[in-house]
Amino acid sequence: MAEQTNKPANLKVTIDNITVDVAPGTTILQAARQIGGDVTPPAMCFYSKLEGSGGKCRTCLVEVAAGSAADPRSMPKLVASCRTPIADGMVVKNITSDRVQEARAGVVEFLLVNHPLDCPVCDQAGECHLQDLGYEHGKEGTRYEFNRRTFEPEDIGPYIQLHMNRCILCYRCTYVADQLTDNRVHGVLDRGDHANISTHISKAIDNNFCGNMIDVCPVGALTDKTFRFKNRVWFTKPMEAHRDCDQCCGKVTIWQRGEDVLRVTARKDEWGEVQSFDGKPGWICNTCRFEKKKASDWVIEGPTKVNRHSVISQGHYVGLKKPTETLPAVMDGRDPKLLMDIHTVSDVNKIELSELPGPATSENFKK
């Protein structure tokens, strides 16, 4: 993180056999983000720019094999890496721990048991953190055989569409309302599996910075009403643009189809968080986000470098930034043996197909 690099880095932490120096007060997750790549635990609720966030989704659980150099005992439980500060000499296991992998698969399953899985009609699809998480850490089947929990639709305001069924209760939007707007008018009502994001008064959210709730939402629970069903994100092209705005930094990503500006969002970094400019998070105001939908409103800087390994990065974007390759370091210098070479194990390929007269049949393989 930008503000922490100025401080002296004097704590050593080893995450999955990779040692890194971090500033005091850094959490395990942020230390892992300094390393990057597969070593970084996924985070659905933690948002480094929102104070107090994190600890809730439990996807970032890691195993602490040694608490610190002074007290090298392991921690009995898996800990939430986003909220656990580093101690000097700490040894953390993430992808090298079976316990972590199993617990994380469990958390993914829990997050998905009541998720509607309506990705085909969801505007978030393609840039959804839950999709990425399910793809990377989930199981292919479900063991849940019951009706999914549903909520009544609720209108929370002119700009933001709430789909409570998709919500994973990360609480990020409540922190945005607390920390960016002058008055929070929505929150979590009820408890347990009926806890839901709601307003006391319908159509109540109209603060000038409330649009940032859409950006922080990791799933499709809060989406942009002005972009609703307009297009799939992977068909739009993200362009970095700016304008002079007296309310916010004015630095945005505009999502274009042809010359049309379909959507405006804040600029995001590789962790899906809003980028910082001059040490301040680049939140944008509702005017920039919802009103300026003409290409002529913006000074276009150039194509966005998509550096998130998500569906949207699979398309036609320039300057794709690949994540750091950490596997050899994690495995102590050994190369991972990812796939068996089929030619070495299959009997099929012991015969030269080119020598056969005509197409091969099962008879040819019985020899």
Binding site: T59, P76, K77, L78, F110, F146, Y171, V188, G192, D193
Partner: protein
């Protein structure tokens, strides 16, 4: 006849009133502490007593008090957890309802030891009438100079405030309690920081159970060493057990932690045996969240030793063949009871009470409830039992607060010890609707020795 410290005077007529309580020797500990002891001496006395937290976890109270950070210029708080919501536990209600001054007395002494000038009682919303009893006791104490400014000329100020909860089980978890006390949504906080460093309004705070604080009174009166002589090993002093279920005499009993579980269930002094000539099938010894034990493991440990009503003995064998003292909610099941139904009821409770903050507990508790309902109503499959086991394993230890564990343990223990009953429900769904599984092999016939 076991020794009684807390309930000794509970049935003196009008003990609720200050005059009677004072005449029976009340507020002696406050006099002793404030006039002749320093706060650290009081803490030392509690450390010497070996008193362990009576709320469920059994953490040594003196050590907890010792952890309290004491930065200069920052207020410290004592919060008494009277949000007694564990199914099967009703000991604190008994104390507060019948002998409220004992709690007030314990709180003044403890506040003195901890340096808390404003102490709180966080009481569950359903105990509405007890709030009035406590408020009256506090008013009486203030009237007689035990609360307020400069108590007994010692220069120590103390006020006690009663705050009602709104009826959430989760607010019995100490950090959720503090959130609720601050007027926020009762979501448990992520630890660290622990309340001893950053608790109520970010100030150092000690949260103690009602019974723990009342136990400070006899400790101060008789001395910590004297208190430590009662009981076995590290289970010192007396413990209130609220016994319910299929027993002849349900109620709150004070035991001195030297008796066996068998004596507790069958002796006429305590539960008085199982009614109607039924046999003991199973028991939850410490409130609904601790593992259930079948009769054979309840009375004897896996090593064949007699199981005693102590922290160590009840936990003997870990979770494979033991349980926990917990909060002392002793629930007895006879051979007519259905363990599947029972587990379903508990799962339903935890689903209802999960705060919904972290995902394993929010989603997992509801899932377990649905599967258990299927098994109970004859729609279950054999694979559901393994699925239940897997779900509880993925909840346990992976949540922010212990509610996830509390939801997972009863299911785990029920499957561990009563798997054949679950399988019977799956194999004979029709039969399971009309009769219960009964005893099977795991509840041995007992020879009464008491």
């Amino acid at each position: 006849m076991g020794r009684k410290l807390l309930l000794e005077k509970a049935h003196v007529e009008n003990i609720r009133l200050y005059e009677v309580y004072r005449r029976e020797g009340g507020y002696r500990s406050v006099e002793k502490a404030l006039k002749s002891m320093s706060p650290d001496q009081v803490t030392d006395e509690v450390k010497k007593s070996g008193l362990r937290g009576r709320g469920g976890a059994g953490f040594p109270t003196g050590m907890k008090w010792g952890f309290l950070a004491k930065p200069a210029g920052v207020p410290r708080y004592l919060v008494v957890n009277a949000d007694e919501s564990e199914p099967g536990t009703f000991k604190d209600r008994y104390l507060m309802e019948f002998i409220p001054h004992l709690l007030i007395e314990g709180m003044i002494t403890s506040s003195y030891a901890l340096g808390s000038n404003n102490s709180y009682i966080y009481i569950r919303g359903e105990y509405a009438w007890i709030v009035d009893i406590l408020e009256q006791a506090i008013a009486e104490a203030r009237q007689h100079g035990w609360l307020g400014k400069n108590i007994l000329g010692s220069g120590f100020d103390c006020e006690i405030h009663v705050q009602r909860g709104a009826g959430a089980y989760i607010c019995g978890e100490e950090t959720a309690l503090l959130e609720s006390l601050e007027g926020k949504r009762g979501n448990p906080r992520i630890k660290p920081p622990f309340p001893a460093v950053k608790g109520l309004w970010d100030c150092p705070t000690v949260v103690n159970n009602v019974e723990t604080i009342t136990a400070v009174v006899p400790i101060l009166n008789d001395g910590g060493e004297e208190y430590a002589k009662i009981g076995i090993g590290k289970s010192t002093g007396t413990k209130l057990i609220s016994a319910c279920g299929n027993i002849n005499k349900p109620g709150v009993y004070e035991i001195d932690m030297t008796i066996s579980v068998e004596e507790f269930i069958y002796s006429d002094e305590y539960c008085g045996g199982i009614p109607n000539g039924r046999k003991l099938k199973a028991c939850i010894p410490g409130g609904s969240s601790v593992p259930i034990l079948p009769a054979n493991l309840l009375l004897k440990t896996a090593k064949g030793e007699t199981r005693m009503m102590t922290y160590e003995s009840l936990a003997d064998g870990g979770f494979t063949s033991g349980s926990m003292m917990g909060s002392g909610g002793f629930i007895v099941l006879d051979d007519r009871q259905c363990v599947v139904r029972h587990t379903y009821t508990l799962a339903r409770f935890y689903r209802h009470e999960s705060c919904g903050q972290c995902s394993p507990c929010r989603e997992g508790t509801g899932w377990m409830e649905k599967i258990l309902w299927n098994i109970e109503t004859g729609k279950g499959k054999m694979s559901d039992i393994d699925l239940l086991w897997d779900i509880q394993r993925k909840i346990e230890g992976n949540t922010i607060c212990p509610l996830g564990d509390a939801a997972a343990w009863p299911v785990a223990a029920a499957i561990r010890h009563f798997r054949d009953e679950f399988e019977w429900h799956v194999n004979f769904p029709q039969e399971a609707q009309t009769r219960n599984f009964g005893l099977a092999h795991y509840a041995d016939a007992l020879e009464l020795t008491v």
